[in-house]
Symmetry: D2
Subunit: 457 residues, 4 copies
């Protein structure tokens, strides 16, 4: 199989070792990823960002080929039982391709909707308090759970393709996706600071959005890849344990700094972009409204089975979950433009025409818990005066993430010195380490913006 | 308005002259282009090809900015009444953005379905013979007609945005899109051998598919752009007529050759790709089957209004047409997987899982009219023996196009010599001129392929 | 004038306003930059780094066109006497093109040789102590001095081209190159944190060396450029003073971070590369040896006039200085391979065949003043034992620079807030601000390396 | 060895099989290629074109790695004695790196000078007539001869590096460079329509000049590479002969068209550029003049030994030839600016300041033998009237080449059909096949141009 890819140029899976990729690509569950965009509604802000999870999954499998080739240049120094056999490589290709197979539509929005609905219902039932996010709210199924189910359920094409090779394969691939494997270096290539997932999505998201500085030098980084481990303090490394991944600091320091900074830049410019966040917030409001209506017994047109289950506080069946892709969800919203409920209809109409809600960013002290709640109250009262329900037409959006969590999954080595954390040898990464990036914004229907600016500016 | 674009990098519409673009982008009809892929089902063969007609429309408007800037470097030599005023530039931006506004879903497939249905109905009614394609079959509405209607109908957002500036603007923009304007150079920039549409789509399609050699050097080509005309034989140019577009042959010959060859390469590699053609053929069969069923009175789930009109041999209303985008059409097909009609259900199921039909290309003499019909007959009888309806599970697909039709819309000039056709000064273009590129393929359900190969190889 | 450039694609100077560039390009002093590589001997480590100061000067003038276009989008808000007239733009183009016109061969090496020779002579004469670098050592002429002389000396082609337009032009361009101009924004575009020099050399050096992560997004940065100033503490801005340059923090923060980090990466990977530093050190030893020999009365073949002047502790004439380019200097060294002095001949032979000296990097405490001197003593005694003169076959090389000196030349603005230093709003830049990047290395003839490693490892 | 390259990104020679490359790179003869530009004086027209033959040689060796990897994917189908062993791969790497090792300075100009001098001397001696180019003029040594000598002469570093591996290696590498090898596919990779030399120089020249459309898709072309042969008419292929190279026509047709057209474009835009041709013509005149002077017994400063030999109609020694690089030749010309002969001094001064001769292109019938001679006579008489020696200040320059000579070194294959010539399956290549591209230009000192234009326009 020979494919062209806008990011990697040529993608080839032509050998027996990679034939698992070709077989998995033919399954309905992998084909479904064609109908889920990698970046949800980001194309509303960056028109090129229409790339799918399918293209990303392919790209991650391709990058795994590059990792495997590099690790095989290195593994001669390991005892033979720690080397990268064809079987282990095969497992790694499958894990790379399938790592996101459980993702629902529109990025994390469907997950959020499930969680929110569970919480609201629990609140209504009095099981939890109004601000309670705790365990009693019940843990919603996350995409990782779906991933595991898709791999393990004998009915799926993915499961069948895997067991054709080896009945233990689904279980091992699940393990790898969770970063668990007897060969730590292989586990880290699937899930770690420098893994095939990030390698592909940073390049792909940067490329599709047109954001130039989310780039880094993948071939060079791979050429500086080594085997190595950060020893735990006061402990000898376990006897006979295989090594993890490391970077040769003499050649690769700038390259790994650049790789990690690329993630910071993508958060600042793309993942936290105000228009994307506003659109995602609108979707969340639409789903919330629809769940409320369904729970109150209102009839809505063409409710996909998975949403009906959520409204009934049940876990959707695997089949229903897999049906729900961007296309179905957006068509459902499209249909709801004609719903009897005016709020639901209005929100869906606005979204369709990209008549997005506006944001007002809060900086410094105004972004802290007290003042921001106060600002929201001001906004809500403006909404009420303008005849809009503040629960659906206003909101407070807090985007936050940690672009670089220093988690020991990658070390930096210099000859004759113990392996160290990247942040120990890079003053830039030392500063970035565990830094939380936050954006606090009020969100509102556009017609509320002038009065809010007047009140807050 | 400042946008990032994977092809052009930065796209800015920040001046009064380009404010029409910003206003048009906010209309529902332009936003609808977000839901129509530029290359239909091509992403089934090239996974990156998810780019939309919206991104292309934006790109074409951006390229028009480059054309306008260049033409203003040149227009000093013209009498003042032939220069590119702000108003004329505004018209050109609108035409660039709107040139494809009437496109239906999945590239040309919906148009084809309308035409096919009209023909079949006329055949059934005995109005035309079985192989008659002629005028009695009735002319179906094409996307150009819809474009005109969208611009001229007072109910559309596009029309309203245009008339806000000038009541005559819709009519003038329609003219420009058809290549008609008192300033030939402006008309050629909208529609000609070297126009903003091609400039953008070649770069964008090459970029999204990852096909490296569909590139050409746009900034250089623009820098070699001149005003000029190929004089009609034996005639003086009309008194006072403004010039058309030309390329300076001393600097730009390779560049224009490369530009025109890029189109050849894209046809060979992308537009005529076997998997895309097979998928499009499946869509055509699905729509045909559905139309037959509807005309026979069979009830199908959730038939979009535009399809119902087609089945009733009526022209869809503008509203119904605009509703029909890739998302709605593919979701409709998705629903038909559960239709009672086994053929319709089966074709839809196959398409959804990318279980595409196979192709068998016919070369040389075997591709000519007689032998290829014979080959199709062979295939049809295999289908019958295998229990598959040959009308829907087999077919003959003839893709053909003329990558370079030498139409006088661009001339090449050398100092002190009369302007000439590109093909007069380039031996490569002379060879390519009016060359028809054809691919003849049998198309079949995959299970028929082994027997066909046995029969024909 | 229309040129192709590997970095910017198309470079055009076709208007009256930029005609000064075309005229200056024809002068012998600008043509001389064709014979001086931008990165000295870096091509010994990065084979692609053959790009010249001529290409960089052209590139800087091209970037100035982009700056001028952007500043004119912004200057409408200024009083008319602060706007960017054609004359002021012309001055800026000249300054961009000429900013490095005084550079000597092989980057800064010739300057270093002059300074070193003056110091040694002063030491020999007893005017200064053995480690004295102070003012008594005399200030050597630096490339900035030569730049000023080339612009101001009536005999040069550059001077003549400038005064043809305006007798005051040479003086004004000298001022601009030094960052002095009544319009601070124009001065900052010539010399500042974000200036045309850096904009071009970062892209060009990254491109020529093939170091992928020295890139940044120039068009985006320009689109976020604003006018603005960081107010001095406790002071109102001077009445009527024009503004400096600023970046819009909402859109440009990642872009300016990326731009400044690009410089850090280029220092880490390219400018401080061990092979380049070793080669430069060899050149320095060769020139030092030659100066010693000449001062001692030894006759050397074909000594360029400028070197003879340096040996005589005289300032070279302008003509002699301009004669001395990479080609002449390297051919001179080539001839010295056959000198009677064995050290001079040996060093020249090694350099020609890229038989470079080796480096041994000192980290942490070992890089501090005491220990590193001790390490050098060890190396010197090994050299002596091996029969090599330690003054020429060993050395200590300390490379250090400040990739980001926070100097108020660029501010970041957010609506409704006072302009601030980049480091105030970016935690990454806050960490990088005024950070000194250092590399401490022992340098030695390759045959000494094994014994040194044995001694120090 | 790990290198960064502006064209290929990362170049690595880290395995035993490629260690020959690392050893050869350390030889003085390969290092000498750093001092010879790949495109001679082309940087006078394209300022970025400073890339060296050294960078190209490295690039060709890198592309050979890609070829070897691809050929090893294919060679499983061959009998074991025809496979690509490590030894054969080693030979191929050496041939790729060394294929141009014998090139003299400034591209082919030094060769031309030798040939011209021989002819003039033979004419003066009456051995041949004034227009005689025939065999009696003696065959000058060409760079291919020098290449063979450098490989075979026991004194060179290259020879010694090769024989360290195998005493037969120099001979085998010479054979490979000439396209001779028992494995035709390997010979074709070194020298053929699609060989590592062209693969690298097209990309590198396009990249360095900034000419965008000289690009093609190397990874894709390699993926479509096959083994195959065009059978000679009426003959069975020799028993047991290994195959040559072929392209899979189904996937690779556009790619090979694009590759071959890239060469056409580079000739049209770069290799035949008027400024480059004028500068080369000036060099030729300078060398001719100097040879005449030397033969007449005039003393010139610092004549390199190789030039002295040429003037004496002797073949330079290998040592003298290897001394002569761009740097030495250009410095020699630089010194001749002060020669007593006014013509020699004047030409050298003009060249140094890029005061290039002008060209006047002749098209159509005017470019044919009779009329162009007549035009030259006109130009010569203008020169005489202006007091300039027409032998040195005017000339007729005929540049001609065949971008695509269809020579059976590459075939195109389709399943089930005999291999064919590219031109048999591509109508574009059919047109280009054996087409001679010519540019006929008068060349003159700039001061003659106005009168010539007046006379000829």
């Amino acid at each position: 199989m020979l494919l062209r890819d806008p990011v990697h140029g040529l993608i080839a899976f032509e050998h027996e070792e990679t034939s698992i990729v070709v077989r998995l690509l033919a399954t309905p569950e992998v084909q479904r990823l064609r109908r889920i965009r990698q970046l949800g509604l980001t194309s509303l802000a960056f028109p090129g960002a229409e790339h799918t999870r399918f293209a990303h999954a392919l790209g991650a499998a391709h990058v795994m080929k590059l990792f495997v080739a590099r690790m095989r240049q290195l593994h001669e120094d390991l005892p033979f039982w720690q080397r990268l056999t064809s079987e282990r490589a095969r497992d790694a290709y499958a894990a790379a391709l399938l790592h996101d197979i459980g993702h629902g539509p529109l990025s994390h929005l469907f997950e959020d909707a499930i969680a929110h609905t569970r919480r609201v219902v629990a609140q209504r039932r009095g099981e939890i308090g109004p601000d309670d996010d705790g365990p009693a709210a019940g843990r919603a199924r996350r995409h990782e759970d779906w991933t595991e189910q898709i791999l393990m359920d004998p009915s799926t094409g993915v499961h069948q393709a895997l067991v054709r090779d080896d009945p233990e394969l689904p279980r091992r691939v699940v393990g790898l996706i969770h970063g668990e494997h007897p060969l730590p270096y292989l586990a880290r290539a699937v899930s770690g600071t420098f893994d095939v997932d990030r390698c592909d999505y940073l390049l792909r998201d940067a490329h599709a959005t047109g954001v130039g500085y989310g780039q880094y030098d993948l071939p060079w980084l791979l050429s500086t890849l080594r085997f190595g481990d950060i020893p735990s303090i006061g402990e000898a490394p376990p006897e006979g344990r295989a090594p993890g991944l490391a970077i040769d600091g003499r050649k690769g320091l700038s390259a790994i700094e650049s790789f990690i900074l690329a993630r910071l830049f993508m958060f600042q410019q793309v993942y936290f972009h105000k228009s994307t966040r506003a659109a995602e917030w609108m979707i969340r409001m639409i789903l919330t409204r629809a769940m409320h209506l369904l729970q109150d017994g209102t009839r809505l047109e063409r409710v996909p089975a998975a949403l009906a289950s959520v409204a009934a506080v049940e876990t959707p069946s695997l089949g229903a979950y897999l049906e729900l892709d961007d296309q179905l969800l957006l068509e459902t919203l499209n249909g709801w433009r004609h719903a009897a409920d005016p709020i639901l209809a209005d929100l869906c109409e606005r979204l369709r025409n990209r008549d997005l809600f506006k944001t007002y960013e809060l900086f410094g002290e105004r972004a802290e818990a007290g003042p921001r709640t106060e600002a929201l109250r001001t906004l809500e009262s403006i909404a009420r005066e303008e005849g809009l329900d503040p629960d659906f037409y206003t909101g407070l959006d807090v985007a936050s993430d940690t672009p670089y969590a220093d988690d020991s999954s990658l070390s930096v080595i210099y000859p004759g010195r113990r392996p160290r954390h990247p942040a120990e040898v890079s003053f830039v990464l030392d500063r970035l380490r565990d830094e939380t990036l936050s954006r606090v914004r009020l969100i509102m229907a556009p017609e509320l913006e002038p009065r809010l600016r007047e009140a807050l500016d």
